[in-house]
Symmetry: C2
Subunit: 290 residues, 2 copies
């Protein structure tokens, strides 16, 4: 099974735990809508790539790790899009969850997706408690306060925010967790994998800032200009388009250099390089369009 098919299958299996008979239909529909079809599935792909670079890790643990991270990412999009934050009408090229299902179901959909991530972790903890305990710590700290993505979103309610702290909490920690969880699922829990994830996360955040500034809303499936409109910190607002593009290039080089030793090091470096090409070409075409 290729990576994409495997990720979708793991997410389908997770969704099956929550949306079967007995679930309120509106909630089940909203949860599926928030998760399928997905975006680039960047975090679970990173998690799977890191795990696979360690030979043949425990498949259930890897599926658990990647699904829980993607569910939490999707949950954060649902809540961040809501009227009291970004008030975003579109996401991934279709109406956002609250636009399609109303605010009450969007609120519960986000909550249920957060909890589902931990229901999935509970299933693997029943058969592999020690490694699952590591995953639970990695995943929960990457989402909660003080340093996780929920805290990152809450920084938007503060009068002033240092760009780096904000972006680390908003994006970096989940990339960090994806890389770290992939290694932990393979029995190779090691901080060096967290560093790799952080560097990759920074690159994605800068690319996202560039896209928000000069991207085509049709192509990226969501409104642009949100950072300016909502007065949010952004690499483009801090460094300009040229400076942000330069920093993106530096981050990609740093990511390739940061891959720790492992059996599949060469392949993982190639995969990161390829992904970087895609990011760079998106960002550069955004620059040209500007």
């Amino acid at each position: 099974m290729d990576a994409n098919a495997r990720i979708e299958a793991a997410l389908e299996a997770a969704m099956g735990l929550a949306t079967g008979p007995g679930s309120p239909q509106g909630l089940a529909d909203a949860m599926r809508y928030a998760v399928f079809p997905g975006g680039h599935r960047i975090r679970p792909r990173l998690c799977l790539a890191v795990a696979s670079a360690h030979g043949t890790p425990n498949a259930q643990l890897v599926d658990t790790a990647l699904a829980s991270l993607e569910l939490l990412h999707c949950a954060s999009l649902v809540h961040d899009d809501m009227p009291c934050f970004d008030d975003a009408p579109m996401r991934r090229g279709k109406p956002s969850v609250h636009a399609a299902f109303g605010e009450p179901l969007a609120l519960m959909c986000g909550d249920a997706l957060i909890v589902l991530a931990f229901q999935v972790l509970a299933r693997s903890a029943a058969v592999a408690p020690v490694r699952s305990a590591q995953l639970l710590a990695i995943v929960s700290d990457a989402v909660g306060a003080p340093n996780g993505i929920v805290a990152g979103q809450a920084w938007e309610c503060e009068p002033s925010v240092p760009l780096e702290d904000y972006q680390r909490a908003k994006t970096g920690v989940l990339f960090r967790a994806a890389s770290l969880a992939g290694a932990a699922a393979a029995g190779a829990h090691n901080e060096a994998w967290g560093v790799l994830g952080e560097v990759i996360g920074s690159a994605y955040q800068i690319a996202d800032d560039l896209m928000d500034c000069v991207g085509d809303p049709e192509l990226i499936g969501k409104p642009v200009g949100q950072d300016d409109r909502l007065d949010r910190p952004s690499a483009v607002r801090e460094l300009g388009i040229k400076g942000a593009s330069r920093r993106l290039r530096e981050n990609i080089d740093a990511a390739v250099a940061a891959v720790p030793d492992c059996p599949g090091k060469a392949g993982l470096r190639r995969m990161i390089g390829k992904e970087a090409e895609r990011l760079l070409s998106s960002a550069l075409s955004a620059r040209r369009a500007a």
Copy 2:
């Protein structure tokens, strides 16, 4: 340390994980505000009473179980009070979280409290992975879909809901989890404890319905008449005040009878009986006032 002091200490310790240096101040303030001072702490008291009825269980596991359940309960109150659901201005005798901190922070506060419950579980999983895995399953399923409290809240978005299903998911499952988790923390995971929790949960739900119908908003610290206003299923709306009071009595008798065998069975029965007195007298004074 008495039960109340121990519960507050466990919640303080949990809160310390999330609200220290590096946390956005508004989020940290909102989280503390949502949890302290508490209500009756009924769920953690049940959890602790069941665990203590088994002799001397692992203290960290018990604290983990009771804190995670109370954090999730507090999170559900924050989100249920929000304008898109109950639009409740007051909770526990003070402005609700969104009234005090605004909707964006209330949204993130609920999310962060949900995740904190699992950060707490991760800490005990690192030292007691097998029993913590049981707690993780009990707690996550009691909150998520299809049967947990988030699903219970989402039932309010459906065109029609059977009273029993709604109340089980809205209230019963968390009482079930409190009893079951107390037993699991003591190494005595057994479905009979889940049944006890469910019966106690039903009694509380009926008492709550009675209070909503005929209680004094000053005394109970929140608005009354919400079930009628929001067209929600309620034991009083289904059975009338007299019928609901009768069912409350039956539930209390059933709870005392449902205590499974354990070293502290007699004490646990007494504690449930005493708690029942308090519930009954609240409900009866509500009836008299009607």
